[in-house]
């Protein structure tokens, strides 16, 4: 038992950096994921509403955060998961809607580009709010990094990370992953399906939107879709959903070709080939070119399938990796 534990992935990093530093980016990511989830319900759950009151000139609108005394007692919290709690007429939600489309501070529309493209493929020309919203989100991920969505926002990432953890802890080796490019074909296929059926076909089963919508609007049988993703990733295919199938991740990876935020193996000469980063990485094929100079000289992980999750930074006891920008060419060799 002891021998097995000492061989666990990340043990060296915990020994050399301490547990906190060896889980820094993981904890930041969880904070981001849960924080974004919480933002969608901060208004009814914590009584934080946006107040818009006309100033005396009548031309400007003052936007201020008000924290009303809790409108609901905590005991009733679970029964208020739905839409029962409503603000008075001049109070607005901090974020309203879900990841498919939402309204921030009652002014800024955001729409997921994958949902938006499905609407287009289904043959409907959406109104301005959806176009603006999709543009804003697309530009953001083009700049920051497409699959930053996957590891910092997507609620399914928590499930598939749990499945990957279960695989490691239980020593599950069976791996019947589909080809990694399946996701791009599937992505295209979902658009064709949308065009042929005239509906957002993928949205009947899309675990990403079902997870986020389900948390705040009712999960229903969507729970079993999420359980299926967990079981598939745990027992059938390593990183089977996020890394091989998810069409949403595929689209965000296409958006990640120009990502500015990147991980770089800037101290790659210090690498002692412990392989921990390859084991922990959700897309291990992206590491090699940067770390081992395979086909590129730059130490920056340029592959758009990298989710910028930072687990390699955490797990490396030699501190080979760091988070930097795309044009950072500094390297130890």
């Amino acid at each position: 038992m002891n021998a097995r534990i000492s061989n666990r992935v990340g043990q060296d990093a915990i020994a050399s950096k301490g547990w906190l530093l060896a889980h820094k980016w993981l904890m930041l990511r969880r904070a981001s994921q849960f924080g974004i989830l919480a933002l969608f319900m901060i208004s009814p759950w914590f009584g934080v509403w946006i107040s818009k009151s006309d100033s005396f000139s009548g031309s400007e609108q003052e936007v201020s955060l008000v924290s009303e005394p809790l409108l609901i007692d905590m005991g009733n919290l679970s029964s208020n998961l739905g839409s029962e709690v409503l603000p008075s007429t001049d109070l607005f939600w901090v974020i309203k809607g879900n990841l498919s489309s939402c309204l921030v501070l009652d002014v800024l529309p955001l729409t997921d580009p994958y949902i938006f493209l499905q609407v287009l493929a289904a043959g409907f020309l959406p109104a301005a709010n959806a176009v603006i919203g999709a543009l804003i989100v697309t530009v953001f991920y083009l700049l920051v990094g497409g699959r930053v969505f996957c590891s910092w926002v997507c609620p399914v990432n928590i499930i598939t990370d749990a499945a990957a953890w279960a695989r490691r802890r239980l020593g599950i080796k069976s791996n019947h992953a589909l080809p990694a490019n399946t996701r791009y074909w599937f992505l295209g296929g979902t658009f064709i399906a949308a065009a042929l059926t005239g509906t957002l076909a993928m949205e009947w089963v899309n675990p990403v939107s079902i997870a986020h919508r389900g948390l705040f609007f009712g999960m229903g049988a969507g729970l079993w879709i999420l359980v299926a993703v967990f079981l598939y990733d745990s027992f059938v295919a390593n990183r089977g959903w996020c890394g091989h199938l998810c069409p949403m991740g595929a689209l965000y990876s296409l958006l990640g070709k120009t990502a500015l935020l990147r991980v770089a193996a800037h101290k790659r000469s210090a690498c002692d080939d412990c392989m921990d980063c390859f084991v922990i990485c959700p897309e291990p094929q992206v590491i090699r070119p940067a770390l081992k100079k395979a086909g590129q000289d730059s130490p920056v992980i340029l592959d758009s399938r990298c989710t910028t999750c930072g687990r390699c930074i955490d797990i490396c006891s030699k501190q080979v990796f760091r988070l930097t920008h795309r044009f950072d060419q500094r390297s130890s060799s």
């Binding site: 996701r183 076909a201 969507g222």
Partner: protein, 298 residues
Amino acid sequence: MNTDKPVERSQPQEIPAVSPGRRKFISGMAGAAGCGCLMALGIGIYSHQASALSALALRPPGALPEPEFLAACTRCGLCIRDCPPGILKLAMPGDPIPTGTPYFTARTGPCEMCEDIPCIKNCPTGALDPKLKDIADARMGLAVLVDQETCIAFLGLRCEICYSACPVLGKAITLEKRSNPRSDRHAMLLPTVNSEYCTGCGLCEKSCILEESAIRILPPQLAQGKMGKHWLKGWEEREKHGGSLIGDQHQLPVRGLEDRIYGDTRVYDEPVPRIGNIADPQPFDPVLPNDSDSGSRP
């Protein structure tokens, strides 16, 4: 999918036209394409099959016709958040409603027809049509008195709950007077839906006092018939053209009705026995001829 196994070469003398790397690439790509397309086919078939909307689920006001709505709705739930009475819900997977789309159920939570229609205001795509400015123009469904056997107005009792609950009061549901066949002196006030005014809000269905409502909101396509596009109504056409288009027909005299307009065979002169005669084409006349009246007035 593991193509890394060492390839046994029994005949090493010829270099294959397609190099192993290229072969691996092509077969891998074909596998990916096959899997991806297969899965897309699966969701296409499933979503097509699961597009049916339960007749009990009604769309919010301003919703585009169902096929367009399913193309336009992002399933974001903004309309749910903006609904003051909180009657709108997003369909969950497993519901008999397309996953994630908004709906309400008239019997448990009818639309209260807010004047400013807040549910439409923030819809990002226009799946709820912003062109709907007056809630009275909404057509979420159509009320239908589906069961005359249990509706207590048809039993001759006073109810009128659905009439009173209707927000388009006195227009969408009217009370039609008929004489009560079980009595020679009472009227039946029969709730009657006028499709010209009914918005399908469902307040009538909600208010029905029966255990199962006798009046229900149905999707318009279930509630209404449709005449053939080429059908014309003769009497309307005659009025429009100031005369019959096929020429006036020969008017043969009908014995005893010589003083009537041709075709009018209604009986006016004799005392009309009204008991049991629901189908009387004349509107109910409260002043009955004295000889058939027992004298009592409500």
